[in-house]
Structures are given as C-alpha cells and as structure tokens.
C-alpha cells in the first residue's frame, strides 16, 4: 500500500477519521473494498497513478476533488466500465479481475439520473430484480419498499417524463438499493439539482445509507457536500490521493497545500522557516506552532475566517496588509487585501467591527496555532 508511505503527515491524518478502522496494515481481507496500485492513462495523460484505498463495510467514503482529478475515472474502473492499466481491486476478498459490470453486483447512481425513459418508475426499480430472477411476488414487495424508502410510493406507475429532477434521482437511488448491492457507487448524484434540493437530498441519502448499512463510494467536487455526508473523505488531485481522513481532519489538518486551498479556500502566504521561527514577507515573524522543521521556504495557510482586526489572548500574531476592497456579505465583511510582497489575501471579519476603508493599511491578527506550513512540494511540514 504505497500511498501510505507518502510523507508522514499524509499518513498521520489518515487515522483521524471518527475512529474508522485505519487503512494501513497488510491484511486487506479485513477491509470490504481494497484498491491497490491502481493506475490509468488515456494516451499521454496519466489520470490515476498508483492509487491505494480501502473502504470498510458499511462506510460512506467520498472521493473529493476538482474536475479532472480522476475521481470519476476511479469510480468507473471500480464499476467495471473502464479497465485499469495496473493495480488490483478486491471486494470482500474476491478479486474483480475480468468481471464485467453486470456480474459485479454494485449499485450505481448517475449524475444525470439514467432513469429508463420508456419504463414506469416501478419497472425501472424492478429492472435489476428481474435480471436476478427474483420471484414476481417478491419483486412487487421489494420495489414497493424501496420506493417507500425514497418517498416515491405514490409514483410507481408514473413515467420518468412526469417526474422532477429530484424525483428522477430518487428513482435512480431506489433502483440501485433495491438489489442490495455489495457496494453503492454514486457519481455526483446531486450536481444536476438546484441548491436547496441538493442539501435536502444529501441528508436523505446519508440517512438511507446508514439505515441500510450499504457500503458507499460517493464522488463529488463539492467540498461542503463531502464534509456533510461522509464518514471519510479521500481528496484527489491530478490522479494522486492527497489525503484520506474524516471530515474534521480533512478540514483542519490538511496533509497537502492543495487540500488547504480546495477545502475552505485557505490563503497561501509565502514564508520561511528558520531557527524555530516563521518569517513572513514584510519582516513579521512568529514562533512555530509545533516541532521545528529544518530551515526551508514554506507556504503558510490561514483561512479567511482566521483573521480579526484586533488582538486577543489567542490572536497574538499579526500581518500588515493594505485593504483593496471591502465587500459586505451579511454576517461577515470580506476584506480583499494585499500583502507586503504584493500577494493577495482574503480576510472575513465580523461585520460589526469598524470597517477599514479601501486603501488603508491595517494589521490582521491571527492565532498562530491555526497556521499550517507546507513544503515547496506541497506536503505538510
């Protein structure tokens, strides 16, 4: 499992996910799904490079990353719609080698629903059961129960054209869970729905998943969605697994600069570590939050909400900035600022605070314990 032998910090954060069994260890049989060394290239483009991942039974694991990071490719390889160039996948100790999609017994929910337009809601949900030669009395019962679960009990005889997007996706969900799959794959299932519905449905999906205990692999590019529904999140970028961990670990203890940027839009501030101090451009320094790493140039990250306009017992360090623009966002004021070295920085401060004027130079105070430092390669130092 070479991915876990990445820089130590990546491995560290791995174990922090809500007490989930850790993905390390040489006994893959214990995990429900084990992915090892998975690689995929499309022509000259490497989409996945030697990816490792383990999913526990009953777990809700989310693949999170920007478009083009390889998350959908990974999902499609697991589903069997794509072949990997190298690597292995086992489910419950059984290899997926050469198994076509229809023999894998995975449920799949699609971004654009993929509800069969020429079949009623009932027939859509019954489709997979009929392929399994389930007796027709059982089919009726199971389809009904699945439709009840997604609150579509009254819609069994409708055709998909008479349904809204959210209802279609519920049909897709019912169709996937009714076969009681070994693994439920969801490919950005909510991204075609409007914002409000997306939030309702993601809780619905999460509740259903917990109730049924279906092992679920969920793909999204929406970090808030990922944080809200997952047991663990795997962050992908450019075909590499940057961090796997629980939502809190992913949010607070980024293993990689990219994770800090992608989750919560952290400001990236050029700095240098030397002699137990962090030196920011413009002559400000602060003591290091943890053990002192060797002297090197680093990137420090701080979220916009980590700043205040005045010091307090925790907020003991400050960066001088020039305010370029002040935007009112309701509860917060967003200050668009410029650092001494010309880099830009966003800070969200209490809108009750006395707002600085554009062009003014102010000190932005922060808690040094919130600062995360990353090496030139991007990994945590």
């Amino acid at each position: 499992m070479q991915g876990l032998e990445r820089p130590a910090s990546a491995g560290q954060s791995q174990g922090q996910g809500f007490g989930q069994a850790q993905a390390q260890g040489g006994r893959p049989e214990q995990h429900h799904v084990v992915i090892e060394g998975l690689a995929k290239r499309f022509g000259a483009v490497t989409v996945l490079e030697g990816l490792d991942l383990a999913i526990e039974k009953g777990e809700f694991l989310t693949l999170l990353g920007p478009s083009g990071c390889g998350k959908t490719t990974l999902l499609r390889i697991i589903a069997g719609f794509l072949d990997a160039d190298a690597g292995r996948i086992t489910v419950a100790g059984e290899t997926l080698l050469g198994q076509p999609p229809h023999r894998r017994d995975f449920g799949m929910v699609f971004q654009n629903y993929a509800v069969f337009p020429h079949m009623t809601v009932f027939d859509n949900v019954a489709y997979g059961l009929r392929a399994r030669n389930v007796p027709s009395a059982d089919i009726g019962r199971r389809v009904e129960r699945a439709l009840e679960r997604v609150r579509l009990g009254a819609f069994a005889s409708r055709f998909p054209t008479q349904l809204s997007g959210g209802q279609k996706q519920r049909v897709g969900l019912a169709r996937a869970i009714v076969i009681e799959p070994r693994l439920l794959l969801m490919d950005e299932p909510l991204s075609n729905l409007d914002a409000k519905l997306r939030i309702d449905m993601r809780s619905e999906i999460r509740l259903l998943q917990r109730e049924l205990g279906i092992t679920t692999l969920y793909v999204t590019h929406d970090q808030e969605e990922a944080l809200a529904v997952s047991d663990r999140i795997a962050v992908l970028d450019k075909g590499r697994m940057l961090q796997v961990g629980g939502p809190k670990a992913i949010y607070d203890e980024h293993a990689h600069r990219f994770v800090a940027d992608f989750i919560g839009n952290a400001n990236q501030i050029a700095a240098r570590v030397d002699g137990g101090l962090v030196h920011f451009a413009g002559g400000v320094s602060m003591p290091l939050p943890g053990a002192a790493p060797p002297a090197q140039p680093v990137t420090a990250t701080l979220r916009p909400e980590d700043f205040r306009l005045s010091p307090s017992p925790d907020y003991t360090a400050a960066l001088p900035v020039r305010v370029l623009l002040v935007s009112y966002l309701g509860a917060r004021l967003r200050l668009s600022c410029e650092l001494a070295d010309g880099a830009s920085l966003q800070a969200d401060v209490d809108s009750d605070a006395i707002a600085p004027a554009a062009g003014e130079t102010v000190s932005l105070w922060f808690n040094p314990g919130k600062v995360r430092l990353f090496s030139a390669e991007g990994w945590r130092v």
């Binding site: 390889i77 719609f81 160039d85 198994q99 076509p100 449920g107 654009n112 399994r132």
Partner: protein, 557 residues
C-alpha cells in the same frame, strides 16, 4: 486472491463479433466490387497489362467527355431547381403557421413516392411529342412548346423528385436554431431580412450544402430519368453510358463500362470529400435553446404564401396525378383516348408475371435485413471507438455515394463466377438492395444513439443485465423513432430501386420498377402508367402503415 485488472482478461465481447462479421461482409459486397471495376478499368485494350489507356480514351474522346459534361450540367441544374423549391418551402413552413401545413408536408412526402423515372415519364405524357399539353398547344393554339427531352427536362424531373430532401434537411436545421441568436440580432437593430441573411442562413448553411450535395449525387447517379428523357443515346450521361457500354461490352472495347463507372464514382466521392472538407472545420450545429414557434402571418400575406406553397407542391405532385389518372384511360395506337378503361391494368396484369411479387418479396427480405443490421451497426459505430468500428462505419457509408448502375455493374462482373455464382439469383438483388440502403438506417439509428445517454446502458449493466440483453431492452425501444424514420426512407428507395437491379435482373427476378421502366422506355404507354400506378399505390400503403405507427413527425425528422 487478487490479480491485475486488464482488458485482455475481459470476458468475450459479442459486439466485437458483430464488428468482425460486418467488416467481412462489407468487404465482399462493397469493397470488392469497386476494386474489381477499378482493376478492369486499368487493363489495356491490347494486352493484359496495367494501363491508363481507358482513361486516356475517356477524356480524349468526344463521345465520352460529352456524357461527362452532360452529367455535370444536368446535376447542377437539378440541384439549383431543387434548392429553389425546397429552401423557400422550408423557411415558410418552419417560420409561419399556415392553414393545411401538415397536409402540405404530406404532399411533399408524396413527391418522393415514385422513382424519378416515373416522374420523367409523366412529363413526357404531358410535354412529350405526343403529350397532352403538346397536342393541346399544337392542335388548338398552333404553338409548338419547348421540348421536354434533353437536359432541362432531366434536371426538372430529377429536381421535382428530390426537392423534399432539401426541404426536410433544411427544415430540421431551421428548427434546431437557438431562437435567442435571432432575437439577439434583432435586438441589435437588424431588420428581419438582415437577421435572416446574417444569422439564420449562415447557421443552416451546412445543412443546405449537405442537401444540395444529396440532390446532386441523386441526379448524377440516376439512370432511369436520364435514359427516358435523354432518349438513351441521344443525350447520354455517365449513368446511361455506363449501362449501355456494359450491355455492349462483349464486342468493342472491354473496360470502358468500368472506366465510365470509375469516373462517375470519382465525381461522387470527390464531391462528398470536398463538402466534408469545407464544412468540417466550422461546425455551427446549435442544439438546445428554444425551438421556434411558428408565427401567424397577417391576412393577405397568409393567402399569398399559402397559395404559392401549395401551388409549388401541387406542381411537383403533378406527375403522380398524371400517371394514376392516365392509367385509367384507354390507349389506341400509342395515344391516350378520353375514355375511361381498365384495359391498361388487364394488359399489365397479363404481362406482369412475377414482377410485383418479386418486388414485394425482395423488398421485404431486404428491409428485414436492413432493419436488424442497421440497428446493430448504427449502435456499434456510434458507441464503440477504435479502428474496427471506424472501418465498418466508412465501408457501410460508401454505397451511399456509389451510383446504383456502378454497383450493379461491379456485382455483375464480380459475382458471376466462382466462388459466388450469384448472378441471376434473387439473392443478388436482395443484397444490392441491402447494401445500397443500409446507410440510411445506420445513419438514422446512429444519430439517435448519439442522443441516448450512455448512462442508461451502464445503469442496465450495473443492475446485472448482460450487454446484449440491455441493448434489446433499453436501446432498441429508445432507438425506435430513428429506426422507423430510416425504415420509411429505405422502403421508398428499396421498393423503387432501378439503377442497380436493372443490371442484375434476369427474366425470373424482374421487379416492378424494371417492368415499368421497360414499358415507359420502349413499350406500351398505358401499361407503363398502370405499372407505375401500382408502384405508387404499394409504396404509399406501406408508408401509411409505418407513419400510422409513429405519426407524421417521425418522417419529418
């Protein structure tokens, strides 16, 4: 316990077998005949050696180059006339709501009902030497009308049969235009005419060019019209020349039929490639957006536009009425009399033999094959990537541009001997029908496959259904509109096929179009009218059955 996932370990793929079988069949029935003609055309007159002698003869002899010139003149003329009819009709019918608009569309479909040579024959009945109108002019007014024989007549008859192609393709494009583009231009201060010229026309230009190309190809490869209105050798074009040379090949100059065929094929292929090159770079296809709702015109304008549109279409349908009407007239000494009679049908029935039965049997067999193969190959070439699907796609499309006479001559010379021995059998007629019209169904079904979300099949597979079963249960029902549309066009073309079957038929495999053509060319005008009427009737009946299934709109698409 676990092993490397790789494609080589995949279970066997039934679609790969489909691809390989299709490739093998297409190679034998498309590539080989063309290659055989090419080989024949490159053999010298006096030796069994490789030589371009035939081509030198072709381009230096006035006899051959006149046919080439005539072909180009006639096809260009037909294209221009078809555009002049089809384009205004498409604009009017997609932009304005006319009374009887759907009836007009049905009449436009009817213009395609008969093969072009039947139209040609009808024009002769009207304007020929002994035509109704000609006689009327001469006997009553002392005027001699301009002749219908020759280039103008051929171009007109072809155009009146082919303008629906322009109409349907351009209508489709007009309906797909995102109306917000036109609204934006109007909002920027352009008058309606200027909006049309600067926005609408450029957007439909690719479709316009495509339809023009189809009319040109249809005319240049049509054998029947040119033969009837050009009176065979008097106004030779490439298609009639190739046929005449093929019939007289035994004696004079072997290889010249093949050479003429290759020139005809080169023109067709060259044009297709040229159009593809010109329109390939800038795709302006705009899917999505609001479909335009037809406008209601003001009072007087509606009347004018409606009368013009109906007038135009009625004129194009004139041959249909002339043929059917005259088939019920008595014939004495090769002249129609003004008295009703079923005599033509009695004579026609006596002489028909197996022609009608053959036509129906061969067409049904061919259509069954076309439907199954077209659905599978349309799916195969649009869903699969790689060399094999691309090769199959290319080979299946080529017959689209091979003039029927050329394909017929190729078949006749290739399948005559071992190991095929197909000449004279009904199989060769069915095969040539299939090969010529399969492209319609492959195109229409692949067109619809592109519109069907790939996720549906993946959903089916993830639910545990085998790919082939998923194809039948998910794809086939969803492809149905495309299949029906393709089937309708294929039926029109197969039942009326003349160009290739006239080269390949024998006494036992004579079809109705061949019988009608022979009577129209050099036989009894009454029997010709009766045969043609039967053809029109059978075509129309079959069409009605199909349209009843899916509504007129599936034909429009």
């Amino acid at each position: 316990m676990s092993a490397v996932v790789s494609s080589s370990s995949r279970a066997f793929d039934p679609w790969r077998i489909v691809g390989i079988v299709a490739l093998a069949l297409l190679f034998v029935f498309v590539a080989l005949p063309v290659l055989a003609l090419l080989r024949q055309s490159l053999v010298g007159q006096d030796c069994e050696c490789l030589s371009v002698e035939n081509y030198t003869t072709f381009f230096t002899s006035r006899y051959f180059s006149r046919a080439l010139f005539n072909s180009l003149v006639v096809s260009t003329g037909a294209t221009l006339i078809a555009l002049a009819i089809g384009l205004p009709l498409a604009i009017v019918l997609s932009r304005y709501r006319l009374k009887g608009g759907s009836f007009l569309k049905i009449m436009i479909v009817m213009s395609m009902l008969s093969p072009p040579f039947v139209g040609a024959y009808a024009w002769i009945l009207l304007f020929g030497r002994a035509g109704f109108v000609t006689q009327l002019g001469r006997d009553w007014f002392g005027v001699s009308l301009p002749t219908i024989y020759g280039p103008f007549g051929i171009a007109l008859a072809s155009a009146l049969n082919l303008y629906p192609v322009v109409f349907f393709i351009v209508s489709g494009a007009l309906q797909r235009i995102d109306t917000s583009l036109e609204d934006a231009a109007a909002g920027l201060g352009r008058a309606p005419a200027a909006v049309f010229a600067t926005i609408t026309l450029p957007l439909v230009m690719p479709s316009l060019v495509t339809s023009a190309l189809l009319v040109f190809l249809g005319t240049i490869s049509d054998f029947g019209t040119a033969n009837i209105l050009g009176e065979g050798e008097r106004y030779p074009v490439l298609a009639t020349l190739a046929f005449a040379l093929y019939l007289s090949e035994i004696g004079s100059e072997p290889g010249m039929a093949a050479t003429t065929s290759m020139v005809l094929l080169a023109i067709a292929l060259g044009l297709v490639l040229l159009v593809r090159f010109l329109s390939g770079r800038r795709s302006v296809a705009a899917d999505g957006g609001q479909p335009r709702r037809p406008m209601i015109l003001g009072g007087r304008k509606t009347v004018v536009v409606t009368v013009l549109a109906f007038g135009l279409v009625a004129f194009a349908n004139l041959p249909l009425f002339i043929i059917v009407g005259s088939s019920f007239l008595e014939v004495k000494g090769a002249v129609f009399q003004w008295s009703l009679s079923l005599g033509n049908y009695e004579k026609a029935y006596a002489l028909m033999g197996n022609a009608l039965l053959n036509s129906i049997l061969f067409s049904l067999q061919a259509l069954a094959i076309i439907l199954v193969a077209g659905a599978m190959l349309g799916y195969y070439v649009s869903r699969f990537q790689g060399q094999l699907p691309r090769l199959v796609d290319g080979l299946v499309t080529i017959p689209y541009v091979i003039p029927g006479t050329v394909l017929g001559i190729g078949y006749a010379s290739l399948f005559n001997g071992p190991p095929f021995f197909l000449t004279g059998t009904s199989a060769i007629i069915v095969i040539v029908y299939v090969v010529r019209r399969l492209p319609y169904l492959v195109r229409s079904s692949s067109g619809i496959v592109y519109q069907i979300d790939r996720g549906l099949e993946e959903a089916s597979q993830s639910l545990g259904v085998r790919p082939m079963e998923g194809f039948l249960r998910i794809m086939v029902p969803l492809m149905r509109p495309g299949l029906v549309a393709g089937l309708i066009i294929a039926w029109l073309e197969v039942f009326n096929e003349l160009s290739a079957s006239i080269v390949l038929y024998t006494g036992a495999t004579r079809t109705l179009p061949i019988a009608a053509f022979q009577q129209a060319f050099s036989g009894d005008i009454g029997i010709a009218a009766a045969y043609s009427s039967i053809m029109i009737l059978v075509t129309a009946l079959a069409l009605l059955m199909l349209v009843r299934q899916d509504g007129v709109d599936s034909v429009m698409r």
